[in-house]
């Protein structure tokens, strides 16, 4: 063993990594933004190579595809669709954030939202003609929050009590939820794979836009979660538990209680997302209602540094890429999965660039710090 150490001493590595002190915020953001820009350029290059459409045209197709003919004074349909999808993704990202801040890897947003949606669906079908409209809305709201919270709190209880691995537990809960939905859809749809849209218990439409209320609800949630995390005692407890469970215990925080309480909140917000999808948008449910966004939300929350307002931008970016790349694929007769590849590339770049924020790379013969 001493031999290897001696050998290492003689042969100094040509590059080594040093932990940085805190970088000023604007430098950190410069790195993040350049990573996003590089990734988007890379997506553009790949599109150009695949379709032989010129480089700038790719972005033109993307922007026009997402924002529709807004600039030519035409319809705003696509813009509203963009806002709606951003709102839903943001809502799920908001939901997982308090849990992540506590270092609880809630990978079950998908299932929690599905259960919330299922609760709304059952209320709409079973109670739709029995309750007056305002009461019905209240019942839908409460039951979907409860259903989401229930699905989230089961792994939390076991985590708190026995330290069961929550990443794997929440992951498995997604598929249990999916199968329950399949079961319910089969029964309610009379043997088909679809439930016809239900007219009762739909969220009210403000003005003449069916997505506006969804966007407003998520906006309120965003501000609410920001205040909760930053200014409330519970929010502070979450960050202490996340930093170090031992510190939390030492200062007298009941760690088990915080874990369970936070997952109830996380699950409940997922439940709201499910309600927005079912009662607010589709008026029906199937296994694809959430469509894998529970997983995308995890990445959005991480990219947004657990800050709700940055998460707004990040979910906007992800949805823009997804819709834009989808549009590029559509116009150039590529397969629609091109959008997934684009989103994957951008997320990998942003996750990877954190390295250059936390560490600096030093080369052997120069004292200058090199930033890639």
């Amino acid at each position: 063993m001493t031999d290897t150490k001696k050998a290492k001493h003689h042969r100094e590595p040509w590059v080594h990594i040093v932990k940085r002190d805190d970088l000023p915020w604007w430098k950190a953001w410069l790195i993040r933004i350049s990573a996003i820009v590089i990734a988007i350029l890379l997506v553009g290059v790949i599109s150009t190579l695949l379709t032989k459409v010129s480089f700038l045209e790719v972005y033109e197709v993307m922007i026009k595809g997402v924002f529709g003919r807004l600039f030519e004074g035409g319809s705003t349909t696509m813009l509203w669709k963009f806002l709606q999808e951003t709102a839903i993704l943001l809502c799920l990202a908001l939901a997982v954030t308090p849990a992540f801040k506590m270092r609880f890897w809630n990978c079950g947003a998908e299932g929690q939202a599905l259960m919330g949606g299922l609760a709304s669906m059952i209320c709409m079908i079973e109670l739709g003609d029995k309750l007056p409209y305002p009461v019905l809305l209240g019942v839908i709201f409460l039951t979907s929050m409860l259903a989401g919270a229930l699905w989230g709190v089961i792994p939390a209880i076991f985590k708190a009590q026995y330290n069961t691995n929550e990443t794997l537990f929440t992951l498995m809960m997604n598929y249990v939820a999916t199968q329950i939905i399949k079961y319910y859809v089969y029964i309610e749809g009379g043997g088909s794979n679809t439930i016809q849209p239900v007219a009762a218990g739909n969220l009210p439409i403000i003005g003449d836009n069916r997505y506006l209320l969804n966007v407003i609800i998520v906006a309120v949630l965003t501000v609410g979660l920001f205040i909760y995390q930053k200014y409330s005692k519970q929010g502070y407890e979450i960050s202490v538990v996340g930093e170090s469970q031992n510190t939390a215990k030492y200062v007298g925080i009941n760690v088990k209680k915080v874990i369970i309480r936070t997952m109830i909140i996380s699950g409940a917000i997922c439940g709201i997302a499910g309600m927005l999808l079912v009662a607010g948008t589709d008026h029906s449910i199937n296994t694809n209602t959430v469509g894998g966004q529970g997983f995308t939300a995890i990445m959005v929350s991480w990219l947004g540094q657990f800050n709700p307002f940055i998460m707004v931008l990040m979910s906007g970016l992800v949805v823009f890429l997804r819709m834009g790349a989808g549009k590029v694929a559509d116009t150039c007769a590529l397969n629609a999965s091109f959008a997934d590849i684009a989103v994957g590339i951008v997320i990998l770049f942003v996750v990877g660039c954190e390295f250059f924020i936390r560490y600096s790379v030093k080369f052997k013969h120069s004292n200058k710090e090199v930033k890639a």
């Binding site: 063993m1 794997l168 199968q179 997983f295 995308t296 091109f338 590339i345």
Partner: protein, 329 residues
């Protein structure tokens, strides 16, 4: 009927076995690779692309195809594809120390996207009526049975009637168990996964072990995708057909308590659970759907029980999911 049921369970279980053995090897180095579903898609599509090119090069004529090449080309392509995915994952999580869960999920999105993208493009290329691409000729070579399998009756059918990748999967699982438990390399790998700082102090090259384990793990997992396409689906690729099997493979890791040999039995049990609904008389379709959640429920129960009993050899690797930076201890 019971024999078909067992054979079917084994056939369904083998992709899961590949996936979970690959994931166990990776997790033993302390890396929770949630990108395995994506890796399996890439493994499958790389094999499909390889075999597609070879079939075309032979003019789609089965007589012109060399049996050895038509097995080896997809195999090699699949391994290259999935090792590249493993390389991406280890570059981000080992070298750049990025968050493992986020990297893994991004890799899954990316890999499934790649699979469906190339799959969809190939389907368009052959311009068929069905939304799928059939490589039945290559599949025939993959599913060639042992010559004496039919002579041995029921025993022969259960033990010897499978495609060769099934035996490869079992062999890999047994070898992996042996290497992990009985060799110096395995001991070092487990040390890296349990406590990288200690391993580093003992002179083990932590980075190299993590890279190699992740890449070998991905290669093994990718074979699961290949087996699915060429043995289970008879060489027919259609987009999203592989489904949630990648996640089920990750579930199987827990069920097998991080022991590749147990994963063999576990994968056949999962295959049986996935399939049992078709063999129980008088089940309505709605009850069948409830039956399909059994593998996941069983996994949750195993997960809860192992964490309650706190038996040391049944726990996940100590540093699973944490990145290691030498100067930070």
């Amino acid at each position: 009927m019971i024999i078909t049921f067992i054979c079917r369970a084994i056939l369904l279980g083998v992709p899961l076995l590949f996936g979970s053995v690959g994931e166990i090897i990776t997790e033993k180095s302390g890396h929770l690779n949630l990108g395995i579903p994506g890796v399996m898609y890439v493994g499958a599509i790389s094999g499909v692309i390889g075999s597609f090119m070879y079939e075309n090069a032979c003019g789609n004529d089965i007589a012109a195809m060399n049996p050895f090449l038509s097995v080896c080309i997809p195999l090699l392509c699949s391994i290259i594809g999935s090792v590249l995915m493993g390389l991406i994952y280890s570059f981000f999580t080992v070298t750049l120390r990025a968050n493992q869960n986020v990297t893994g999920l991004a890799l899954t999105t990316f890999g499934i996207g790649l699979g469906n993208f190339f799959g969809g493009s190939l389907i368009k290329l052959v311009d068929s009526d069905m939304p799928s691409i059939a490589l039945t000729k290559t599949s025939n070579f993959f599913t060639t049975k042992l010559p004496f399998a039919d002579d041995l009756g029921a025993v022969g059918e259960i033990l010897f009637s499978h495609d060769f990748l099934t035996y490869v999967a079992i062999a890999i699982a047994i070898i992996a168990t042996f290497v992990l438990k009985r060799t110096r390399v395995g001991l070092n790998l487990r040390a890296v996964g349990e406590n990288p700082a200690t391993a580093d102090a003992a002179g083990i090259n932590v980075t190299r072990y993590k890279y190699v384990a992740t890449m070998i793990g991905s290669a093994v997992a990718g074979l699961g995708g290949l087996q699915y396409v060429f043995a289970y689906a008879n060489g027919v690729w259609s987009n999203n057909a592989f489904g949630d099997r990648g996640w089920m493979a990750i579930a199987l890791v827990i069920f097998a308590l991080w022991n590749p040999s147990l994963a063999i039995a576990g994968s056949f049990l999962f295959g049986a659970l996935c399939n049992a609904n078709n063999y129980i008389q008088g089940l309505g379709t709605e009850t069948q759907e409830l039956f399909k959640m059994l593998p996941y429920v069983v996994t949750i129960i195993v997960l809860v029980f192992t964490s309650m009993r706190k038996k040391r050899e049944h726990q996940p690797p100590e540093s699973l999911g944490l990145s290691y930076f030498r100067e930070e201890r």
